[in-house]
């Protein structure tokens, strides 16, 4: 069976080009072989929020770190539930740079992220749950401390608990101390977790 490759200059199907503006050329330039052209197109599409899915399409296949950086910056500005949903896919990527760029971008999107990330706290992959905790810990969401305490109470994986303890060192309140003490009982034979719990309780108490 023959493999068909899309023409590099074709605009993505997710956003039909509108006649009479330069959006079509910007969308085409997102797929230019030149990273500088892709970077410029992505930056120029900042003022086209309707192009968000096209930018997400490009991020799915982009390999240049500098173009990725611009794509993330523009997508942060075009924050929406749809953008968040597209970015979350990259938390499962084998590409550590893409994964970590995604985490940083989601940490900047303070308005719409928490409900999506909350769902990931039940993901079967413990690394995805760790990333969810890392994102939550950086969001200034009033729900965050309670969600992290819930992780301490129910999470079976030591490294996910450790991530939650670390996040609580920054955002925890005295309400978290009881759950931290209970976690110490559950994982008393893990020196790092015991150390982290002690450190976090001390920070919450202002020590």
């Amino acid at each position: 069976m023959a493999l068909l490759r899309a023409k590099p200059s074709a605009p993505p199907e997710s956003l039909p080009a509108a006649p009479g503006d330069d959006r079509a050329s910007l969308l085409a330039n997102l797929h230019s072989p030149e990273p500088a052209v892709r970077r410029g197109a992505a930056r120029a599409l900042t003022s086209h929020p309707e192009a968000a899915m096209a930018l997400c399409d490009r991020l799915d296949i982009e390999t240049s770190p500098s173009v990725r950086a611009v794509l993330f910056t523009v997508l942060i500005r075009q924050e929406s539930p749809a953008v968040v949903a597209r970015l979350l896919v990259h938390l499962r990527s084998d590409d550590a740079a893409l994964r970590n760029g995604t985490i940083e971008a989601l940490q900047e999107m303070r308005g719409t992220v928490t409900p999506h990330v909350r769902d990931l706290l039940d993901d079967p992959d413990s690394d995805v749950r760790i990333f969810a905790v890392n994102i939550l810990g950086a969001l200034c969401d009033p729900e965050t401390p309670a969600l992290l305490v819930d992780v301490l109470r129910h999470e079976p994986h030591v490294n996910v608990c450790a991530a939650a303890v670390d996040a609580l060192a920054e955002v925890g309140t005295p309400d978290a101390i009881e759950a931290l003490e209970a976690l110490r009982t559950r994982f008393g034979d893990e020196p790092f977790l015991t150390f982290a719990i002690d450190t976090t309780i001390r920070r919450i108490r202002g020590g």
């Binding site: 690394d127 790092f192 150390f195």
Partner: protein, 132 residues
């Protein structure tokens, strides 16, 4: 976290990890064993410190902002002046592919979190030795 084995005599270790508690843990364990510890909070800061100063061992987290551990190791291994500094990667990712990726990026050893204090100090002694 007591350690009764002989103390390392001042070997310098750079810990590169975005977790504040994790960095404090490494520092506490390694300084108690006689190492001198410095910290970096992400891959970019880690690279800048590794280039600017001399270290006997790098302890590198994989998932970090600004520059991940794999990219950091590749950058260090391509820099002639520091390419031979031993490096241990530490990650929550325990799959064989993760270790392979770390070694291909230039890691000398791969540890999976959580790291026990004794394992950390013994590995540090083995890889960084001590300055007498």
């Amino acid at each position: 976290m007591s350690d009764t084995t002989p103390q390392a005599s001042g070997a310098r270790i750079l810990v590169i990890d975005d977790g504040i508690t994790m960095r404090l843990y490494y520092r506490t364990v390694l300084e108690a064993a006689g190492f001198t510890v410095e910290e970096a909070t992400n891959g970019v800061e880690g690279y800048e410190k590794a280039v600017a100063q001399s270290y006997d061992l790098l302890i590198v987290d994989i998932n970090m902002p600004k520059m991940d551990g794999y990219s950091l190791l590749r950058a260090i291994r391509s820099e002639a002046a520091i390419r031979s500094v031993p490096a241990v990667t530490v990650s929550t990712e325990a799959g064989p592919d993760d270790a392979t990726r770390a070694f291909q990026s230039g890691a000398n050893f791969y540890l999976v979190k959580p790291v026990a204090p004794q394992a950390l100090t013994e590995l540090a002694r083995l890889m960084a030795g001590g300055r007498s």
